[in-house]
Symmetry: C2
Subunit: 128 residues, 2 copies
DNA sequence: CATTGACTTAGAGCGCGCTCAAACCTTTAC
DNA sequence: GTAAAGGTTTGAGCGCGCTCTAAGTCAATG
């Protein structure tokens, strides 16, 4: 019923290793998390949501030092709302640019692949 | 009139350092290139085109070992046409997947940014 | 004829983002 | 009571993709 997770459960859910989760906590990306009586980390749903958002940033190419900046602003409370928004807006522009660039490259790839198809046709006619 | 380039001209044109160009040649990505009487590298237009295509692959996230595989296939001649095409087709699918993933993330970012705008509105009403 | 500047090589060093090793502690199962 | 399964810490190591250093060659310039 309660949604608390061990580190290995979280690892499975986020699809990364427990090592990496501890590493992210060490460098200040994930907040220090609750501990059970045995000293083991206990993750609540809010931790999962925060982690998932960070991983979304990572997946879109944000470098760790910038995620770290965002995490620090968040820890500083509501006075940093505008700054956090601006950071995300800048990142939004970066992601847009990535998409444009990839779309262009997709066209280049398609052209190249077409050329290969043509070359392969010619190859097949070599010996009469 | 003739379009031959020194390494520093090529570096400017490709927007990378001469160091990096030599590095790419060393690891087998760029073909060993012509040399002037003084032993300096001399780049012809075909070298530029090949480099630009490789950089396109790099820009779309292809790791160096795979670019290297492609480069080796190319050096092996026409018998590798199909294999090269398949490599590019696989990469095309990867790029498509990247675009989809980024587009999704863009929506998530937009939601988050909207939420920040709302929170900032509320913040501004705090003191009456 | 010495200096400047652009090139050459081999190889060392570096920043990023993990990834793993070692030593140790708990809880559960037999 | 002991072994296995899972967690803890600190700190070292690693793969990638460059990036830079050192020492040297060569060509043109003052």
């Amino acid at each position: 019923m309660n949604p608390e997770l061990t580190i290995s459960k979280l690892a499975k859910r986020l699809d990364l290793s427990a090592h990496t989760i501890r590493y992210y906590e060490r460098i200040g990306l994930f907040d220090p998390v609750g501990r059970g009586g045995n000293g083991h980390r206990v993750y609540a749903e809010k931790d999962v949501l925060w982690a998932e958002f960070l991983l979304r940033l990572k997946a879109t190419g944000m470098p760790i030092h910038q995620m770290l900046r965002y995490a620090e602003l968040r820890r500083s409370g509501d006075s940093t709302l505008a700054e956090r928004r601006e950071l995300l807006e800048q990142h939004r522009r970066d992601v847009q640019a990535q998409i444009s660039q990839l779309s262009q490259s997709l066209e280049v790839l398609d052209n190249k692949i077409q050329i290969y198809h043509q070359l392969e046709q010619k190859e097949h006619h070599h010996d009469p």
